[in-house]
Structures are given as structure tokens and as C-alpha cells.
Amino acid sequence: DVKVTQSSRYLVKRTGEKVFLECVQDMDHENMFWYRQDPGLGLRLIYFSYDVKMKEKGDIPEGYSVSREKKERFSLILESASTNQTSMYLCASSFSRGPGEQYFGPGTRLTVT
């Protein structure tokens, strides 16, 4: 079974803190994605990576950065957390070839106070 794990299920941070969210997949997928999910807004793509050290901005990259040093690990970094970044963060991965079915992690609910 494909497994995508995220470092925390729940996280509470203070405004201005640097926050790291980590995602690990065990299926040797080339593509990895970070989304945030807010009520009424669906899933919005923050960043994605199609190979090690390669990344592309999604629809809402402002305030975020990412790192992919190893194929199985994709990190989302909030450089200086703000209250409007309180959200559910979902990581996903997929093969680059084929229909691209995405496998999701369980999500991290981040609260910034």
C-alpha cells in the first residue's frame, strides 16, 4: 500500500515563528504536492515538485517556501507564520507518467495564534 505520512496531525504555532511541515512518501513517486484546504475554498495548490530539487509555484505560494532534497521527502516552510495561514495542510504524491492518481497524507491542522 502507498503510504504518505505527514510529520504532525495537529500543530499550534505563534505568529512570526518559522514552521516546518514534512511529508514523506514510500512509493518512489516523482511528483509531490502541498495544498491548503479552507472551508468553502476547496484545495488550493501551494507548491509542487516534479523531481529532487525541482519546484514550481502553485496558485498561492506567497508566504511559503519548499524544499525537496530527497525524492521521498517534501517540506513546506512557513518563513514567518501569520494567523491567515491557519489551515489544514495536505501533502500528496503521484507518478509523473500515467493518469497521475494522487495519494494523500492524513493532513496537518495548523493553528497560528
Binding site: 504518505v4 511528483n31 504536492f33 495544498y35 468553502g40 475554498l41 476547496g42 484545495l43 495548490l45 509542487f48 516534479y50 514550481e56 502553485g58 489544514m88 495536505l90 500528496a92 503521484s94 507518478f95 509523473s96 493518469p99 497521475g100 492518481e101 494522487q102 495519494y103 494523500f104 497524507g105 492524513p106 493532513g107 491542522r109
Partner: protein, 110 residues
């Protein structure tokens, strides 16, 4: 944007009834996928339909695709309380980057 949009936003039915959700998208696609999300969890892939297919079945799920209308529907037959979840359609773009809609929230009452 190729964003899929689901309709209705919310649906409440009794156990045993059928549930139908619709999805519209904006540009041409190679395939369209449906996902389910249980409350507070990640999404799980349900079914994929390719652009040259009109209908596909998987257990109690039936998906149709009308590329001329740029729409798809997901039918869940004989629904169960365990089907209570949010359902999303997704259309892949380059690098298999996906566009998801806001989802249909299905509540199946026992």
C-alpha cells in the same frame, strides 16, 4: 483554470437512497478523477474516467463523463452511513498538477 466545480455543495439523504453529485470543468482533459475525504482526513482516490470513456463502474460507484458539456457525475447507489464524506472531482494538468473543486458534502442518515 481547469478547476472542477462540484454541485450541489451539500446533499443529505437517507441510508439506502442513491446520491448523485455533479462536476463541471472548463478546458479539455485527458481524464477526470473523483476523490473522497472523510472529515478531517486526507483525500482518497475513488475512480478515474478517461476522456474517451462515457461511463465507468466500480462497486456501488458509477461515473459518467460528457466531454461535450464538460461535465461528469458520480452516482453512489444504495448509500450507507459510511459514505458520509466530502467528494471532489479533479482534472489533471501538466506534471499531473491537479485542480480540485470545493467538493460536495454528503451526509447519509442512518
Amino acid at each position: 483554470s481547469q478547476q472542477g466545480e462540484e454541485d450541489p455543495q451539500a446533499l443529505s439523504i437517507q441510508e439506502g437512497e442513491n446520491a448523485t453529485m455533479n462536476c463541471s470543468y472548463k478546458t479539455s482533459i485527458n481524464n477526470l478523477q473523483w476523490y473522497r475525504q472523510n472529515s478531517g482526513r486526507g483525500l482518497v482516490h475513488l475512480i478515474l474516467i478517461r476522456s474517451n470513456e462515457r461511463e465507468k463502474h466500480s462497486g456501488r460507484l458509477r461515473v459518467t463523463l460528457d466531454t461535450s458539456k464538460k461535465s461528469s457525475s458520480l452516482l453512489i447507489t444504495a448509500s450507507r452511513a459510511a459514505d458520509t464524506a466530502s467528494y471532489f472531482c479533479a482534472t489533471p494538468s501538466y506534471f499531473n498538477k491537479f485542480y480540485f473543486g470545493s467538493g460536495t458534502k454528503l451526509n447519509v442518515k442512518p
